[in-house]
């Protein structure tokens, strides 16, 4: 209430009257029909479990992390899920930094109810050692821009982040078989979360005497509305949660009608989410495949350079996941297998380059009797990726083309 | 609370000076007290005391715990008071915290005696089960539902009544094999031991308004007080605790006089409460 009251003074009476009267003729200010959603854009971040959703002007970012914790006493074999919301003041002047206001708490609880109570996530698969350690999944929702209908956008962001999040694999090992070993991403493939169904929140704004409903209200419509209803449904026709916290009264027949509409919208959004996640997953899978190619190449014996196997492995691990922004070897390829992909948006360059440049000393290309041609000529070619498949055989890839130059066949 | 006008303030002060208060009472009269026991069925003991418009509910819960290492032969008692916002709008959110902590401490001082547990109104040694290992932890939770002055007296009376209503479950102890083992305690669901409340004191608050002191002030009279002294008196007429509130200084002779008045009034209050407790028990048995 305080938030709305603090904002209402910014809206002129003309605007208010206009929105209300125009709704009476089934029109909305941005030209949509009453039951149309705004454009939905789903973006993914570099890390897994990071997503950004844009619904019209509303932007919400979501970040999923996991941690091993002790389980609750009354649920020793289940993991935990917690949702934290942050209403950044840059999203809306009425949001205050620090303590969450009423609406932040409500949003967190509605999304939490939709995910937890409807058992959308499988909590028992998060158990590692019964009664001692389970995975605790934490979802952080950051509201970046409040263009109205935060609940729907935040819900989609949370779902997308959960779908793309991968948690580290861990096994019991050690001397007594009781120690928990968490495996690095390179050693063992991180696991996805088991999600049974996707609860999608669909919000209706109620105007007038409770007979005018619209879906996906914008910020201005929210300031004028008499009440709000959120239905969280999945594509199987189940209702996962309902939230209508007071506001203008609505006939129960209208509520059932809205449920039907919400069901259709939920199915629609589910397919959009699945589509986006699928594209993202295939992209990541193809990136991984390229990395594996690298590893295969290095198992071929290289006659010119002698190095210890362990150091090779170390280096492969460093190389496989670190794009470089300078070519460390020429493409005349004699001795080295190098990943020289450039990423224009490489975030922490220092981290990446450091690992390569300061590899084990006897992997230094300059110190091991490599032909001096290599040592002298070092053109910097962005966007190249060169894999050595054997002496005088190399595979050269750019973003667009793949060339295979082979003088000898693979040994 | 809406402020008082000058005329009203004079009326209150004048009335007290003439031994005729706003509601017709004399200076040393209590408002009618009504007592109800067993209002919270899931607690070990509970009581609700109404002192005029002041309404407080006290609930007592007993849980198994470990005695304090310095006092292995005594149980533990903790008193928590909460001021509900229904009593006054200013108690909303954390507004009532200050008053709550003040009341909690005052009651602890009056009822629980010193740090060593000596002189406690409640007999703590009756709470021990296995010396040094297992004892009863009593949690006394008070809630102020409606506040019209004299909260301390009402809460203390409610605690006394609730204690008399408290049933501690009977325990059978199975001692472990070695003396260092944690003994196995079997808590019975059926039999209860009534708590011994003969030593529990009552609290009498004397509020000094100009030159006279009154007992059981309403919140309007409290707003006119210069200082107040709360004295806890037990059945034998002994003083168990004393708290002075308010900024005005008091002459020691005045305090001694107040103490003797409190003893006198305390006796009357004690007998009144005893009869109320007996009546409540009788009606509970009838049911």
């Amino acid at each position: 209430m305080e938030q709305r009251l603090a904002n209402t003074w910014r809206m002129t009476n003309n605007e208010k009257k206009f929105i209300e009267s125009v709704l009476a003729s089934d029109l909305r200010v941005d030209g949509r029909r009453p039951f149309d959603y705004r454009d939905l854009t789903i973006k993914f971040g570099r890390e897994q479990g990071l997503s950004e959703v844009q619904l019209g002007q509303t932007r919400v970012m979501s970040y999923v992390t996991s941690q091993l914790v002790q389980p609750y006493r009354d649920r020793p074999n289940e993991g935990t899920l917690s949702i934290f919301t942050e209403f950044s003041p840059m999203a809306d002047p009425s949001f205050e930094a620090g303590r969450p206001g009423e609406f932040a708490v409500e949003l967190g609880r509605v999304i939490d109810r939709g995910l937890r109570e409807s058992s959308a996530m499988d909590m028992e698969s998060l158990c590692v050692v019964v009664g001692k350690s389970v995975w605790s999944i934490r979802v952080d929702l950051h509201i970046v821009d409040n263009g109205g209908n935060l609940i729907d956008a935040a819900n989609i962001a949370a779902l997308v982040a959960l779908l793309t999040f991968r948690r580290p694999d861990c096994t019991l090992g050690g001397d007594d078989g009781q120690e928990l070993i968490m495996h690095d991403a390179e050693v063992r493939e991180p696991l996805p979360l088991i999600i049974h169904h996707l609860p999608i929140a669909v919000t209706f704004a109620v105007f007038g005497e409770g007979n005018i409903m619209v879906i996906d209200p914008t910020h201005k419509e929210e300031m004028v509305m008499g009440g709000k209803m959120t239905f969280t449904m999945n594509s199987n026709g189940d209702i996962c949660a309902v939230q209508k916290a007071g506001g203008v009264g609505v006939m129960s027949s209208i509520i059932m009608q809205c449920l039907q509409i919400a069901s259709a919208k939920a199915a629609d959004i589910t397919s959009k989410i699945k589509h986006a996640v699928e594209i993202y997953n295939t992209e990541r899978a193809s990136q991984k495949a390229n990395h594996y190619l690298l590893e295969v190449a290095n198992q071929v014996s290289l006659s010119d350079v002698i190095m210890k196997e362990k150091q090779v492995e170390n280096l492969i691990e460093h190389l496989a996941y670190m794009p470089l922004d300078e070519l460390e070897n020429s493409n005349q390829g004699d001795a080295l297998a190098v990943d020289t992909r450039t990423k224009h948006e490489s975030i922490s360059q220092g981290r990446y380059t450091r690992a390569f440049v300061r590899g084990p000393a006897n992997w230094d290309p300059y110190s091991r009797g490599i032909s001096s041609r290599l040592a002298t000529s070092f053109p910097t070619l962005p966007g190249f990726w060169c894999v050595l498949l054997g002496p005088k055989t190399f595979l050269l890839e750019t973003e667009e083309t793949t060339l295979l130059h082979a003088e000898n066949s693979l040994g | 609370m809406v402020g008082l006008s000058e005329g009203e303030k004079r009326f209150i002060r004048g009335g007290i000076a003439q031994d005729l208060r706003t509601d017709g009472r004399q200076r040393l009269h209590y408002r009618p007290i009504s007592v109800e026991t067993g209002v919270i069925p899931q607690a070990n003991g509970s009581a609700r005391v109404r002192l005029g418009a002041t309404d407080v509910i006290v609930s007592i819960k007993a849980e198994l715990g470990k005695p304090h290492p310095l006092q292995p032969d005594k149980g533990k008692v903790a008193i928590f008071i909460d001021c509900s916002p229904t009593a006054a709008p200013m108690f909303e959110g954390r507004g009532g915290e200050e008053l709550s902590t003040e009341l909690s401490f005052a009651l602890q001082r009056c009822l629980l005696g010193g740090r060593s547990g000596a002189g406690a109104g409640i007999d703590l040694s009756s709470l021990v089960i296995v010396e040094g290992k297992v004892c009863w932890d009593l949690y006394i939770d008070g809630l102020v539902v409606s506040s019209d002055g004299n909260l301390l007296d009402a809460l203390a009376a409610a605690i006394k009544v609730a204690l008399s209503n408290t049933g501690i479950p009977k325990v059978t102890v199975n001692l472990g094999a070695s003396p260092n083992d944690q003994p196995d305690v079997d808590v019975s669901d059926e039999e209860f031991l009534q708590f011994d409340t003969s030593g529990v004191p009552v609290v009498v608050t004397l509020t000094k308004v100009s030159r006279h002191y009154i007992v059981d002030a309403t919140s309007e009279e409290e707003s006119q007080m210069s200082s107040a002294v709360s004295i806890s008196v037990n059945r034998h007429g002994h003083i168990c605790g004393l708290t002075k509130r308010g900024g005005a200084g008091l002459d020691p002779s005045v305090i001694l006089d107040m103490i003797s008045v409190a003893k006198h009034v305390g006796e009357q209050l004690m007998s009144l409460l005893d009869s109320e407790i007996a009546a409540a028990e009788a009606s509970a048995e009838d049911q």
């Binding site: 449920l259 | 819960k61 916002p85 539902v145 506040s147």
Partner: protein, 242 residues
């Protein structure tokens, strides 16, 4: 666990699936408040106190054309079976305070009291399921006792779905069974739903049945509340010597 006995059809506490618990409402329990009420639904006991309309305490929140409604929900330490020190202002209390406030705001004629503030404080003395509904019912009685103009009375009731049967007015054991819990608040005369909350999964057609059952329960409570208010008014008339 069998929540509805398959042979007799009785629930754990002996009620039938469509039976509500014993309800009791009392007006004027907190003498100092402008309006107050105690409402019991079975073992759930709730006190509501209303202070207002009075001057707005925080000038920045003052609204020039209507009254500001504030609400706080708090649970006593001893209200649940296991005594737990409740921190004031935890997320559940904040959400329930928001829900109760918006529900009561829907029925109070706020435009008749501009630049003023109405405080609704709800204190749970005993919690045995359905605390939200009991709070709303108690708040309605308290607002009526305070003489605050309302367009209609708001009543609330909860319903669930366990052992394939819609059950009315869940108690704590049934509530914590993990099945769906639908809380409905209606404006009695206008027959409109103002509060609707549900958690846990439920197919759409069953949801309609459960919601209708809860609405029936609300209507029954509305009748009882009307009775209590009429009785109270008669007593006031008596005391005035009319």
């Amino acid at each position: 666990m069998e929540y509805v006995d398959s042979l007799t059809g009785f629930r754990l506490d002996g009620r039938r699936p469509n039976d509500m618990r014993q309800i009791r409402g009392e007006i004027g329990v907190v003498a100092k408040a402008d309006g107050s009420a105690l409402f019991e639904m079975g073992n759930t006991k709730v006190i509501a106190a209303v202070y207002g309309p009075r001057e707005v305490q925080n000038r920045s929140q003052q609204v020039n054309n209507q009254a500001l409604v504030r609400c706080e929900y708090s649970m006593a330490n001893f209200s649940t079976g296991d005594r737990a020190r409740r921190p004031k202002g935890d997320r559940r209390s904040t959400e329930i305070s928001l829900v109760i406030r918006q529900t009561m705001e829907a029925c109070i004629l706020t435009h008749l009291m501009p630049r003023s503030q109405i405080d609704i404080f709800v204190q749970v003395l005993q919690a045995d399921g359905g605390t939200r509904s009991a709070c709303i019912n108690a708040a309605t009685l308290a607002l009526a006792d305070a003489g605050i103009p309302m367009c209609d009375i708001v009543t609330s009731c909860s319903a669930g779905y366990l052992s394939s049967t819609p059950l009315l007015d869940l108690n704590y054991i049934e509530d914590s069974a993990g099945g769906p819990d639908v809380t409905v608040g209606i404006l009695a005369k206008m027959d409109k739903v103002t509060l609707l909350q549900m958690d846990a999964k439920l197919p759409m057609d069953i949801f309609e049945n459960v919601m209708q059952l809860a609405i029936e329960g609300c209507k029954a409570i509305a009748q009882y509340i009307r009775g209590v208010l009429l009785e109270n008014t008669k007593q006031l008339e008596c005391r005035r010597g009319v």
